[in-house]
């Protein structure tokens, strides 16, 4: 090798390394790297109770470090003999969007970028074609004449397309009918979002921001623990409430009582009465997802 070619070669190599370093420079802002524990964490279903406990404490520490609030994170298990069903009275709903914002507050959704699980569609009377729905309505007051309102959220299907397409089994249906996501296992491929016919899933395209004074400290692992960028999330019937017997947040704020929730396996529950006695409508019945979310009418 001649001296000249060596010099030339090493100059080129140095330039290459410099260009590489310059290219990777933004990574300096990556901030807190992922901890080893976080990286090595197993799938939800493979965690032993002791492991789970450790994971929950770790999440509590992470949240406290990030938001300055000590949360109370638990892993709520499904109850025996319970299958949740949601029923929504489209005759009564006035489209005030209180449910949307109660949900955001309860479930620690990102405020910027904005993530909302419930979309309220303003629909012209006489059709159920969701293509005609409008989510951006902003009148002085609701309800408006000639329209009805149809909130759409995760339908917790009995035959869910979203869980079937997940390449890493990070989303599945629990025995009580709630389709959940393991936020710490999801790889963020957005397959499930493409599969969902109800547009119920939301992706964290950037790191979520929640003002710390608005953080709900009552958290569940599969429910409202703060998510990070790059994972999917969606309505989970407020696992942290419903699995201890309480009603979901969207129901509790509804000013017209249009939202009904309960255990369908209990024949005396409100939802059982509705499914027996009311005219019930299933959104996009033809796609065969068998939702656990029903729309019904008075009369």
């Amino acid at each position: 090798m001649s001296r000249r070619s060596f010099l030339r070669g090493s100059t080129a190599a140095a330039a290459g390394v410099a260009a590489m370093a310059a290219g990777l420079a933004p990574l300096r802002k990556l901030g807190e790297a992922i901890s080893v524990d976080q990286f090595l964490q197993q799938h939800y279903k493979e965690l032993s109770p002791a492991d789970m406990d450790k994971v929950l404490r770790r999440i509590e520490n992470e949240v406290e470090r990030q938001y300055g609030v000590r949360p109370h994170v638990r892993d709520y298990k499904p109850m025996n003999g319970v299958e949740y069903v949601y029923a929504l009275n489209v005759t009564r709903c006035v489209g005030c969007r209180k449910c949307v914002h109660a949900c955001v507050a309860e479930n620690n959704q990102s405020r910027d970028p904005e993530i909302q699980y419930i979309r309220v569609l303003k629909m012209p009377n006489g059709t159920f074609d969701v293509e005609k729905g409008d989510v951006n309505y902003a009148p002085e007051s609701v309800p408006e004449k000639g329209f009805f309102y149809m909130p759409v959220q995760c339908h917790q299907c009995k035959n869910p397309p979203c869980t079937k397409v997940c390449p890493v089994k990070a989303t599945w249906t629990e025995p009580d009918g709630i389709t959940v996501i393991d936020y710490n296992w999801c790889i963020g491929c957005r397959y499930c979002e493409a599969a969902c016919p109800y547009f119920a899933r939301r992706f964290n395209f950037s790191e979520p921001t929640i003002p710390k004074e608005k953080l709900n400290p009552e958290m569940s692992y599969l429910g409202n623990q703060p998510r990070h960028k790059g994972v999917m999330e969606k309505c989970h019937f407020c696992i942290q409430r419903t699995r201890v017997g309480r009603y979901p947040a969207c129901l509790e704020v509804c000013p017209t009582g249009s939202r009904k929730f309960g255990n369908i396996l209990d024949p005396s529950s409100e939802v059982a009465h509705i499914l027996r006695e009311k005219r019930v409508f299933v959104l996009k019945e033809e796609v065969g997802t068998l939702p656990r979310f029903f729309y019904y009418f008075d009369v």
Binding site: Q66, A102, V135, A138, E207, T242, K260, E270
Partner: protein
């Protein structure tokens, strides 16, 4: 004029290199993506904040925090046993204390004011009740289709103000008001009894906690039972701006992810 093959190759490669490097340079030195145009058609209503609080706050806290208190009655804050005195002006109209000027008072009970007096009702020629001046602000009759059920004594007892009377003459106390409603609104009452009409709060699993049912009057003003128009909460932000704002801001070091500082950059519909 013909070119030698080598020369032509040189030209092509040189041109491609210049083109590629030019594209790359224009990409690398382009400023951060400009904020995406917002559709001006999507005007947004700035509604009072969603009360995060309604889920975890008591009624007085809610009212003190400037929340939507329209659903609360007097006794959400006041002690029922020591009810506040009601002041009346010279013309007999109720004088509202300043702090309640914005409250829509629901006339829950006549005998709160009318103690031991007989009630005279004046009728107009078309059969409507003529509202006394004192009640003009308090009580808007609007019951029944086309507001035709305006006679007080269709529901109230003519002789005892704190009693209700159904059409078949059954006397009911105010606590039994749902039965009075049921005498006309049978199917709705049946739904309500089953928990299908009206909101149930608290626990769906009654073995773990109490389910709280609301009476008819909790949601409906008996004198004008239609649910009033509500100001809707703001809708979703326009789709195109999703996420770009914060990513661009973080690039300039203007906002750190996860601190409340970044909250300042976005419009704040949540403060009053």
């Amino acid at each position: 004029m013909s070119m030698r093959p080598g020369q032509k190759t040189n030209l092509v490669i040189g041109g491609l290199v210049v083109l590629f490097l030019g594209l790359a340079a224009s990409f690398a030195f382009s400023p951060n993506p400009a904020p995406v145009r917002q559709d001006p058609a999507l005007t947004r209503v700035v509604a009072p904040a969603p009360q995060v609080a309604t889920l975890r706050m008591t009624a007085p806290q809610l009212a003190a925090g400037g929340g939507d208190a329209s659903i609360l009655d007097c006794y959400a804050c006041h002690d029922e046993k020591k009810s506040p005195t009601v002041k009346m002006g010279a013309d007999g109209a109720i004088v509202f204390p300043k702090e309640h000027a914005d409250l829509r008072l629901m006339m829950a009970n006549c005998s709160t004011c009318h103690v031991g007096k007989k009630l005279e009702v004046e009728y107009a020629k078309n059969g409507d009740v003529v509202m006394p001046k004192a009640h003009e602000d308090l009580l808007k009759m609007g019951h029944g289709r086309n507001n035709r059920n305006t006679n007080c004594f269709n529901c109230h007892s003519q002789t005892k103000l704190n009693e209700l009377v159904t059409r078949d003459g059954t006397r009911l106390t105010f606590a039994q008001a749902p039965l009075l409603c049921a005498s006309c609104h049978g199917p709705t009452y049946r739904d309500w009894e089953l928990g299908v009409h009206g909101r149930t709060n608290g626990y769906w699993d009654t073995s773990q906690g109490k389910a709280v049912r609301q009476d008819c009057n909790a949601c409906h003003d008996p004198h004008g039972p239609a649910i009033p128009q509500i100001i809707p909460f703001p809708g979703p932000k326009p789709v195109l701006t999703h996420g770009l704002g914060s990513a661009g801001a973080a690039e300039h070091g203007a906002a750190e992810v996860g601190t409340p500082k970044s909250e300042g950059a976005q419009p704040k519909p949540e403060t009053k």
